[in-house]
């Protein structure tokens, strides 16, 4: 079922298929587009990360530390907007999804390669608008752009530019979503039934549906916002007949599903990592697959839980709280099934799996603290405090970003044909994990004790915990700089990672690494699922790749 890839007769891989910058700029190869996305989103991650470090440094002491209130407010807005719109939303689907989804399905490419390239250029245009908004003075509304502050004269027109950037980026997201939905429906290789698809594909598929259904609402909201700001028509502004709470409904109607656009693909990666590094079929595969779909559906019904104290009707708050608790069930199902997968496995401590285990640790905390915020009476105290900040960082960073970096490490040999320094990778995971907990666990304490979010200045009794948090953020940053260093260094090495360094039975590892232009030399014949380690046809794959790797090293 795999491509014969010998040293002498190797078909040229996709990185060799064309030379020069132009071969990249006009490429239709999903892997190359994915790689361009990868570098772009990592650039955005660096931008958002630098902003985070400046924010944390300013909070080192009460009063002004390194910048004034205006600069601080712009900085946390830049951090939030860059991380959400430029990094996390496109990170897993557009980078890893693009590189892997067609290979995992045994397809030659995505369904609409040109649309795929267009989505990348739209992303770049959106990013340029965002950078322009920063260059022309920045935006200080917070990434949520709440009206009427964001439509008031005090906020420069850069708010419109920044929201236009988010509007444009939305289309990039929609294009990717459409492409993936059609690819999953139409381009699966013979033998890949729905229930033989990798759970990463299920997760990306559920995400794609969210991208296509929810993102237009963001576009509508931001369009209405721009209409109000530009023409003074009252939509959200009470002084001209609008309703500020309406903006929040619109915004969260998109942005809550967007939370699942951000976390579902991460969960998909964890399923892949846990199976490969436990060498076990996913425990309760069907339940995990449907839990992604369930999360996608529930995500549309719970937006009001961001607004329990906003002035929405108390009846609405009660209903949204009730519905919110149903999100806990599929999340729990996934967590328990990953544990079931590890049970009686053969568990490797390779760096991608360390990321997966860090994810389970951090996402447990992120998920459980979500219950505090879903319950009405405790939310009233905790909302808009540092407790919320800590909660969503445990979900978004401890969840999605740890999963993303686990995925990058796991598929790095697949994508670039090289291995990185595993010892440094283990040190980097440890730094990121420890630093992350220092940074954000202290924020749970801060928030519960009464520290409001988005505060440039704070009473002196909060200073000690803020300092601990700031120190933690430096440790995380050092960890990511280390990762950047050994990953970039690895690219200069000879491409000798081997086709299947993790001895996986999943389909993407059954072609050469890096893969040829159309992924497989001949259409693969599928006899077993991506996790069937104890399938009679699959076991020899593990043994063969293990022995060939031993000889190579």
């Amino acid at each position: 079922m795999s491509v014969a890839a010998t040293a002498s007769g190797r078909v040229p891989h996709y990185l060799e298929a064309g030379k020069g910058i132009k071969s990249w700029l006009v490429t239709l190869d999903h892997k190359r587009i994915g790689v361009m996305y990868l570098w772009s989103v990592l650039g955005a991650f660096l931008l958002g990360g630098l902003a985070a470090i400046l924010v944390r440094t300013e909070l080192w002491s009460t009063g002004q530390t390194i910048m004034d209130a205006n600069a601080y407010n712009r900085m946390f807005t830049l951090h939030g907007a860059a991380m959400v719109f430029l990094f996390i939303i496109p990170s897993v689907p557009a980078a890893l999804g693009n590189i892997l989804l067609p290979i995992m399905l045994g397809a030659k490419d995505v369904a609409f390669p040109r649309l795929n390239l267009a989505s990348y250029y739209i992303y770049l245009v959106g990013a340029l608008f965002a950078l322009a908004a920063i260059a022309f003075g920045g935006v200080d509304t917070g990434w949520t752009f709440y009206t009427p502050y964001s439509t008031s004269d005090k906020v420069a027109n850069t708010a419109v530019m920044m929201t236009f950037a988010a509007f444009v980026l939305g289309f990039s997201s929609i294009f990717t979503g459409i492409n993936f939905i059609v690819t999953v429906h139409k381009l699966r290789a013979p033998g890949i039934t729905w229930f033989r698809m990798p759970l990463f594909v299920w997760a990306i598929y559920s995400t794609a549906i969210l991208q296509v259904l929810a993102t237009p609402v963001l576009a509508i909201t931001l369009l209405l916002f721009m209409v109000e700001r530009t023409f003074g028509i009252g939509i959200f502004d009470a002084t001209i007949g609008g309703d500020p709470v309406l903006f929040q409904h619109f915004f969260w109607f998109y942005s809550h599903p967007a939370v699942y656009i951000m976390i579902l693909p991460g969960m998909g990666i964890i399923s892949e990592l846990t199976s490969t590094f436990s060498r076990r079929p996913i425990f309760g595969y069907t339940a995990v697959a449907f839990s992604s779909v369930a999360l996608a559906i529930f995500s549309f019904l719970v937006w009001g839980h961001h607004m329990f104290v906003s002035g929405q009707s108390e009846y609405a708050s009660a209903l949204f709280s009730f519905l919110t608790f149903f999100v806990a069930l599929p999340s729990g199902v996934k967590m328990f099934n990953w544990l079931g997968t590890m049970y009686k496995g053969s568990i490797s401590f390779a760096s991608p799996n360390l990321y997966a285990m860090a994810f389970m640790f951090l996402f447990s905390i992120g998920g459980l603290t979500g219950i505090f915020l879903g319950a009405l009476s405790t939310d009233v105290h905790l909302t808009d405090s540092y407790f919320v900040v800590a909660h969503f960082h445990y979900v978004m960073m401890g969840g999605t970003i740890f999963a993303f970096f686990g995925g990058i490490h796991y598929w790095w040999p697949k994508t670039f044909g090289v291995t990185y320094n595993e010892g440094l990778a283990k040190i980097a995971v440890a730094l990121q994990f420890i630093g992350f907990n220092i940074t954000f666990f202290s924020q749970f304490i801060l928030g519960t004790r009464g520290m409001p979010r988005r505060y440039f200045n704070y009473p002196p009794d909060f200073e000690e915990l803020h300092r601990i948090s700031t120190i933690g953020s430096y440790i995380v940053f050092a960890g990511f700089l280390l990762t950047a260093w050994y990953l970039i260094a690895s690219l200069r090495k000879e491409k000798n990672a081997g086709d299947n360094p993790w001895h996986s039975v999943a389909l993407e590892w059954q072609t050469s690494s890096p893969p040829p232009v159309e992924n497989f030399v001949e259409t693969p014949k599928i006899k077993h699922g991506p996790y069937d380690y104890d399938h009679p046809d699959a076991a020899p794959l593990v043994l063969a790749s293990a022995s060939s790797n031993r000889k190579a090293s």
């Binding site: 060498r279 447990s364 405790t378």
Partner: protein, 338 residues
């Protein structure tokens, strides 16, 4: 729960009647989370060490699924979260329904300050104590004085953007939305000082938008309010409302003796349940009166026509529009007509 609770490692002091209930749920969730977290991460760590890979060629064999187990770990969490929902909902109901006898204090929020207006017209009492501690560099913070052991309802409005009123020790918080009144209530148990934070981002000096709640002994509060009321004089909002009722000729259509005329009577109006023209029920509260003055045709009581002039709101000419202050006075006047 009528006793102040000491600060714990997590929670600040609990100084209002709802704090105890919030803290009980918080600590229930906290210990539930600790148990679940230790269970999940403990199992993960145990499996990782117990089933650590021993050879590169090993192929393990284990269960692929277990229906009983999978149903169990769906149903038990379902029961747990439903219990949590009901618990949180009951606590929330206590927080959002103010007792009928609560003293009303009007709160005005604007970038980046608070001001408080008492029923007798006393406004914005700054902290005159000499030994007060400056917080966030702000020495002269507005003070909200309230009596201990009596319910206080804040009717809050914003002059510009969104703000939010939070007193961590009281466990209450509510956003203040421009264009309407937002309500929050609390019953502070013991005399003492507590911080008020603005918790909805409102621009440059958001983090400086603080105030102090000074909870006083009820008799001291009454004495202070009476003394201040005497000093201010003429600021009584009921009297100001009565004057407006006369000068704006409200009496032409709205009687104060209980007889409906062109419009509904104002006697006993506040708190009355009415049916509006589309059949929906409506309870007359501060927001309904405000809307009916500024946009009289938005919600007409059944049986009355759309005849009231719309000139008091921002559709009207500048010299006829009512200020927020005037609307508040009219509401105070209508409330007094029991």
């Amino acid at each position: 729960m009528d006793r102040v609770t000491d600060p714990t490692f997590w929670m600040p002091k609990g100084a209002s009647t709802v704090a105890g209930d919030v803290d009980q749920l918080y600590y229930f969730l906290y210990w539930l989370s600790v148990v679940l977290f230790v269970g999940i991460v403990g199992a993960m760590t145990w499996f990782a060490l117990r089933y650590k890979r021993k050879s590169e060629t090993e192929i393990p064999h284990g269960p692929h699924h277990n229906t009983v187990l999978e149903v169990t770990w769906t149903v038990i969490p379902l029961i747990l979260v439903m219990v949590i929902f009901v618990w949180g909902f009951r606590g929330y109901l206590r927080m959002v329904v103010a007792p009928g006898d609560a003293m009303v204090i009007n709160v005005t929020a604007q970038q980046w300050q608070w001001s408080f207006t008492y029923p007798n017209g006393v406004v914005d009492a700054m902290d005159e104590r000499k030994d007060k501690q400056p917080v966030n560099g702000a020495k002269d913070m507005p003070v909200l004085r309230v009596p201990a052991g009596r319910p206080v309802k804040l009717v809050m409005r914003s002059n510009d953007v969104l703000h939010s009123f939070w007193v961590p020790e009281f466990r209450v918080k509510h956003d203040i939305v421009p264009g309407q009144y937002s309500m929050v209530w609390f019953n502070a148990i013991e005399p003492g000082d507590y911080r008020v934070f603005c918790t909805e981002y409102c621009g440059q000096d958001h983090s400086m938008m603080m105030a102090t709640v000074m909870v006083m002994k009820p008799e001291e509060f009454d004495a202070w309010l009476k003394k201040k009321g005497g000093e201010v004089g003429g600021g009584d909002p009921v009297a100001a409302g009565a004057l407006l009722y006369k000068t704006k000729a409200c009496g032409g259509c709205h009687s104060t003796d209980g007889k409906p005329s062109v419009g509904p009577t104002m006697k006993g109006l506040f708190g009355r349940k009415e049916e509006i023209t589309d059949g929906q029920p409506v309870t007359v509260d501060e927001n309904y009166i405000r809307e009916s003055i500024l946009e009289p045709r938005a919600k007409l009581v059944k049986g009355f026509g759309p005849v009231m002039p719309e000139s008091y709101g921002n559709k009207g000419p500048a010299d006829q529009q009512l200020s927020e202050k005037q609307v508040e006075s009219l509401i105070a006047f209508i409330k007094s007509l029991k």
